[in-house]
Amino acid sequence: MNAQRNADETTPSNGDEWLDPREAAGLMERTQRQAQRQLTSDRPVLSVFSALVVLAIYGAIWSSSRDHHPYTGPSLNVVGLVYILVAVAALASVSVYLRATAGVSGRSRRQARTTAIPFVIAVVGVYVFDGALKYDGFGPAIVYGVFDAAAPWLVVGAVLAGHAAAKQDWWKLTGGCAMIVVAAGAAFAGPANVWGVLAVCGCLLLLAQGAVRFRSGRPGSMAPSTATPTAHHQ
C-alpha cells in the first residue's frame, strides 16, 4: 500500500500535464513498441514473407527438376517465375527499409551502406564463378544444380557471419553459420534434391529469424511493468 501511495503521490512535472507513474510506464511501453515497429526494418512479418518466397522459389525449382535423369536444370517457365518472385521480394524489402529509415541519419545508415558492399560483391561473384564453371565445361548438374543452389548460401552466410561476429550479434552469427552448414550439407542431396532441402531449411531458418525478431521487438527492460505494485509484495 505504501508503494501504491508513493506511486500516486509522485510530484508532477512543473507546468506540464500530470502523469501518474503507472500511466508513464504504460506510455513508455507503447511508445517503445511503436518506435521499434516504425523505425526498424527487422520486422517479423518480413521474415515470414521471405520464408514463403524462399520456399516458393526453391520449391518450384525442385518440383520442376526432381524427375530429371540426367539433370538438365529448371525449365524456362520456372526461371521466369523465380525472377518475378526475386523482384517482388527485393521491392518489398527495399520498400520496408526505406520507410523505416526515412528521416534517420548517422552511424547506422553509414554502416548499412558499408555492409551492403560485400553482400553485393559476394552475390555477383557467385554468378560470375557460375559462368566460369559453364565455360570450363562443367555439366548442368553442377552449374544449374548443386552450385547455383548452394553457393549463394555459402557466400552470403559467410559475409553475414563475419559482419555479425564483428558486431558481436550472436543471433545473426548463428544464422550465418547455420546457412553455411545447411548449404554444405544440402549439396550432398544431389543437383535436384539440393533445391528441395534448401527450400525447407531456408524457410525454417527465416521463420526462426522471424521468431527472434518478434521476441526482441517486444518491450524489454526499458519500459517498467505496469502491473499494480502491491501484487509484488504480498
Partner: protein, 100 residues
C-alpha cells in the same frame, strides 16, 4: 534507488517522455529528422519545438540544422547524457512501481 527518488521532471511529462523514448529507439550516433519525429509523435510543430528546446537546454538532446538550397533540415538526437537520464528515470519508475 529508493521510492523517495524523484522522477526527472524534464522526462516525466507525456510529450517529452515520448520524444526521449522514441529517440532512444535509434542506435547511438543516429539522429531523426524533425518532420519524421513530428509524424511519429503526432505533435504540432510549435509544441514539439517547445519540448525539444527544453530537452536540448538540459543537454539531453542535440540538434543539427542543415541548409539545402532554400530548404533547411533539422535533425535531433539523444545525447549520452539524455540516454543516461532516461536510464535513471526508468530505474526510478521501476523502483516506484515495484515499491522497493
Amino acid at each position: 534507488m529508493t521510492i523517495g527518488d524523484p522522477l526527472d521532471p524534464l522526462i516525466h511529462a507525456p510529450a517529452r517522455l515520448r520524444i526521449v523514448v522514441t529517440l532512444a529507439a535509434l542506435p547511438a550516433g543516429d539522429s531523426l529528422s524533425f518532420t519524421r519525429l513530428q509524424s511519429l509523435l503526432d505533435l504540432t510543430p510549435g509544441n514539439l519545438i517547445t519540448h525539444l528546446r527544453r530537452l536540448e537546454d538540459a543537454g539531453y538532446l542535440s540538434s543539427e540544422k542543415t541548409a539545402n538550397g532554400t530548404a533547411s533540415h533539422t535533425s535531433v538526437a539523444l545525447t549520452e547524457q539524455g540516454r543516461a537520464a532516461l536510464s535513471t528515470y526508468t530505474a526510478a519508475l521501476h523502483a516506484l512501481l515495484d515499491g522497493t
